[in-house]
């Protein structure tokens, strides 16, 4: 394929190849790998293939994550990102171009490693190899996703987000994606088998399958954020779809061979997953006054839906599932009402902090979380036991009267949001 053909197909990928794969670097990578493997061989390492896998992990996850984040951060720093935003390109092409093109040098190194695996002594498990390759791509996509999310908070931010993105990329790839998959991956060494919707899967294969699906979600998230950068209106569909997928994924673990869990258990777990994802989206979304005003000014429902923040439908879904759980007799209604109050309080507090605090609002939110979820409940529990704690925290078996506490907090937090909005909304 000629340069211009690839340029037409994916301009971002070709641009990255031009920058990353210079003749000097093309020579340097295999030379360095050869020196490293020769050194290991001379050190009488028995299973050299396993070391190649470690090198792959270093290249794709540690270095690749940084390159993927840099690919975007450098563009913002050099002022070329606004030029890219004028592009008529497809956001998917740009997302793939950035994830794979920006990291093309480490993928070139990975290709050298794969070729080395043919000749070096020792063996490795195919699933381990595939998991490292997919995990590497996931780490890179995560790193890019993180810098894109941070850019939404502060478009003038030039640098400083790469390390955070790299770290979260590593988390995404060690050894898989998500706590459940990570646990299952750890358990593979115990020869474990997992059941999902009643079917049995070998844990390594299950983990790899989940990694691949999560990678697709990560790429969708990157493409969606790039789409937003290209001037399209946001839409909550992708995050709502991801929430439904995660609910379905987690519910699968409740099914054993012949046992179908009761409805309140399923809806309760689903509500919990939706609530956790709501918290994730609320914390990862900036709150710009103009976005809220745009939503309030929208003329029709289609437009309003497009402008909704992504966490709102997920939150509504969590509440709906919670209500169904209570109606189906899963939990006492007082506990559910207290949880709902704190759910509203937390969302309102995040909104108020975003509106009022111009800087360090992440630190402020951490302090509030420690105070409201750690310090205060513990102190009240110590003083008066669960009866006193119930006045500020959802507690099993608490009387209906104690609901005043959580709902007073929710009302106060909402009042704070109204006050903050009045201060920041301007004309």
């Amino acid at each position: 394929m000629s340069n211009t053909a690839l340029l037409r197909l994916n301009p971002e990928f070709q641009r990255c190849l031009w920058l990353e794969l210079t003749p000097t670097r093309l020579v340097l990578m295999p030379a360095l790998l050869a020196v490293a493997l020769a050194g290991l061989h001379l050190s009488n390492v028995a299973n050299l293939a396993e070391w190649v896998l470690y090198i792959l992990f270093f290249l794709l996850v540690l270095w690749g994550g940084r390159l993927a984040a840099d690919c975007f951060v450098e563009e913002v720093a050099q002022g070329t990102w606004d030029v890219q935003r004028l592009s008529a390109s497809n956001p998917w092409a740009m997302a793939l171009g950035k994830v794979v093109g920006g990291t093309s040098y480490v993928w070139y190194g990975a290709l050298c490693c794969l070729l080395a695996l043919i000749v070096v002594p020792g063996t490795i498990d195919f699933v381990d190899l595939a998991s490292t390759l997919v995990g590497g791509l996931a780490a890179q996509a995560t790193a890019l996703l993180v810098v894109l999310v941070l850019h939404r908070f502060d478009a003038s931010r030039r640098r400083g987000s790469t390390t955070l993105a790299q770290m979260l990329g590593i988390v995404a790839a060690v050894p898989s994606l998500g706590p459940l998959a990570a646990l299952s991956s750890l358990a593979k060494n115990w020869g474990g088998i997992t059941q999902w919707y009643g079917a049995e899967f070998a844990l390594p294969n299950f983990t790899l399958g989940h990694e691949i699906v999560m990678l697709a979600w990560l790429l969708l998230a990157v493409a969606w954020l790039i789409r937003l950068q290209l001037g399209h209106a946001p839409s909550p569909w992708p995050y709502l779809a991801f929430t439904v997928y995660e609910i379905a994924f987690v519910l699968g673990f409740l099914f054993t061979q012949k046992l179908i869990p009761p409805l309140p258990v399923m809806t309760g777990v689903a509500a919990l997953v939706a609530a956790v994802l709501t918290y994730g989206a609320v914390l990862a979304s900036p709150l710009h006054v103009s976005d809220v005003k745009r939503l309030l000014r929208a003329q029709d429902w289609g437009r309003r839906w497009d402008l909704l923040p992504s966490w709102l439908p997920a939150a509504a879904l969590a509440v709906l599932l919670g209500v169904i759980t209570v109606l189906a007799g899963g939990r006492e209604w007082t506990l559910a009402a207290a949880v709902l109050a704190l759910f509203l309080r937390d969302i309102a507090l995040v909104a108020a902090v975003r509106l009022l605090a111009r800087r360090r609002n992440a630190l402020l939110l951490c302090v509030l979380a420690v105070l409201l979820y750690g310090l205060l409940p513990t102190v009240l529990d110590g003083i008066g036991g669960s009866n006193l704690k119930a006045w500020i925290f959802p507690t099993m078996g608490a009387s209906a009267l104690t609901l005043i506490g959580p709902w007073a907090q929710a009302v106060a937090a909402l009042a704070l949001v109204v006050m903050a909005w009045g201060r920041r909304k301007g004309v």
Partner: protein
């Protein structure tokens, strides 16, 4: 700068519509402060519009909104019939935006910078190379095609940024302070390029503080005041106000004034510092007839020249 373009080649399918760029009720806010307030205007196809206004008037914000880089709070923007807010990528293919920073890839050569710019705007594979060469030639960078952008001087990087913005031959070219950083010779060449692109049928909106330069090539003026209003004035063409001319004289200016009063094309005559100023279309043959008439009347004419500052007067008059 040589821009070998012709209307028939590039913009043969453009209808000369009066509302090629159409903006309605545009509101934009930075945080709680309003940068654009109910701005609305139409610009015809093929026009070269000088976007003027004091610092902080919202010129750059307006250009960024037109380019789809900023999402306004309310209002609509249509470019060649495409709603920029609904179909931003389709609009991007129709427009180019030279921003007030370079926005070039330092590690890539001039050629690759231009090829990349052409590719992201969806040009055909076969047209990209010739488009890159054309754009480089238009900004006098043909001899530096293989040079890395990072090694170019500030002025040359500015030229490359201009070339990147127009490489896909957009129907609308937005330029934000295009002359900043250019030496006098390059500025003159830039004026020539803008005139050529305008003559070829491209619609241009140029923001600058240097009114004299804008006057060289602008057919329209769009004035912005604190983001509150937008006013379009026609500077050339049949609906434009007539340019003003100054007649240098030896002797009594009142005689010349009396001589001019009889001429149909002349209006708004006044004596200023012993010379006579008047509004006059000023076509070469008409100038010849005017001078001959005055000489026949015995008026001692020493010079006839445009007063210049037409745009500035219009702008300052608008301010007043």
């Amino acid at each position: 700068m040589l821009a070998k373009v012709a209307r028939s080649e590039l913009y043969k399918d453009i209808l000369m519509s009066a509302d090629f760029v159409s903006v309605r009720g545009l509101i934009f806010e930075y945080g709680s402060s309003r940068a654009l307030d109910e701005v609305g205007f139409d610009l015809p196809a093929g026009s070269v519009t000088a976007l003027v206004g004091p610092n902080g008037a919202g010129k750059t914000t307006l250009l960024r909104c037109l380019a789809g880089l900023e999402r306004p709070l309310a209002g609509s923007i249509r470019i060649d019939g495409v709603d920029v807010l609904e179909q931003p990528r389709l609009a991007h293919a129709k427009l180019g935006f030279q921003q007030d920073f370079f926005g070039v890839y330092d590690q890539l050569s001039v050629r690759r910078n231009l090829l990349h710019a052409a590719a992201i705007q969806g040009m055909n594979e076969g047209d990209m190379e010739s488009a890159a060469v054309w754009a480089a030639e238009a900004v006098s960078l043909s001899d530096r095609l293989e040079q890395k952008a990072g090694t170019l001087s500030r002025g040359l990087r500015q030229r490359l940024a201009i070339a990147r913005s127009m490489v896909h031959r957009p129907r609308l070219l937005l330029m934000d302070e295009p002359a900043s950083g250019l030496d006098p010779e390059a500025r003159r060449e830039l004026s020539g390029l803008i005139r050529t692109l305008g003559a070829a049928g491209m619609t241009l909106v140029v923001s600058s503080h240097i009114l004299a330069e804008l006057e060289d090539y602008s057919t329209h003026m769009l004035a912005l005041r604190d983001g509150h209003s937008a006013q379009v004035a026609v500077l050339s063409g049949t609906t434009a106000a007539k340019p003003r001319w100054r007649l240098g004289l030896v002797g009594d200016a009142r005689e010349a004034l009396a001589g001019l009063h009889g001429m149909a094309e002349v209006s708004e005559c006044e004596i200023i510092d012993g010379d006579v100023e008047f509004a006059f279309v000023g076509e070469p043959l008409a100038r010849h007839h005017l001078l001959r008439h005055l000489v026949d009347q015995g008026v001692l004419v020493t010079s006839l020249a445009p007063t210049g500052g037409h745009l500035e007067k219009l702008y300052m008059g608008d301010r007043a």
